[in-house]
Symmetry: C2
Subunit: 129 residues, 2 copies
């Protein structure tokens, strides 16, 4: 469940999503924020700066588990946090590594979350502020 | 890849998603539309009537396959199409079956689609109008 599809609102009003690796909740205490590595210049960053609202969806079809997280995104350029969260496997997406000045973090402040975990669509609220 | 997370814009501007079974592309010729069963009175239907834009995301983490579909949604009450697409397994969500007058279809007119199918995030355009 670590790869989210992050949906944002495009400047033309359409909704677009892309896969994003959620930073380990064990590495960062869950205080209502989720963290993602991104390029500071990425298209989605521009979108989030215009429309802060994002949705994160997590799907695990084999286990019939689906999660929707609603929140607001914000670009955070915190070199200490980047170092703390960095793992060499992220070179697949950020080949220049943790010292790349373009590498930044997207913080998603969670406002509500819901999940479905049964074929019949039983659901519950995971989190709500 | 049949269960999509369908993201819509809420009246307060937030983005919400929920799992939805995509109707079999073999049963309906793919002509740029995707079909979903829904209750005509469902919350998401009201959202889509206000903001037509939706995103459908499909995730298959085991195969490293992720798809984003951008389009517009519309409620369609076509009893013939409902009968053509109906399958008893949908009783899990619609216990009253295919003759339930509340049962309807959500048509998503696809405007663009992208996919990612490698760890390094290689991607391509699947569809574009
Ligand atoms: C695997 C799965 C598939 C689902 N498929 C559908 C579906 O095809 N149509 C539908 O209306 N709801 C489906 N649901 C239930 C929806 O996710 C959702 O809870 C319900 O439609 C109400 O959503 P709304 O209040 O946002 O309108 C499914 C749930 C699960 C867990």
């Amino acid at each position: 469940m670590r790869v989210a599809m992050m949906t944002t609102i495009e400047s033309d009003g359409s909704l677009r999503s892309r896969p994003m690796v959620t930073q380990d909740l064990k590495a960062v205490e869950f205080d209502g924020d989720l963290w993602f590595f991104t390029y500071a210049t990425a298209h989605k960053v521009g979108e989030v700066e215009q429309h802060h609202q994002v949705n994160l969806s997590y799907s695990k079809p084999g286990d019939n588990l689906y999660v929707s997280v609603s929140g607001t995104g914000q670009l955070v350029n915190d070199r200490k946090k980047i170092k703390a969260l960095w793992n060499p496997i992220y070179k697949a997406w950020f080949p220049k590594g943790e010292d790349d000045p373009e590498l930044a973090l997207m913080k998603v402040h969670v406002e509500s979350a819901e999940y479905w975990n049964a074929p019949a669509g039983k659901m519950g609220a995971l989190y709500s502020i």
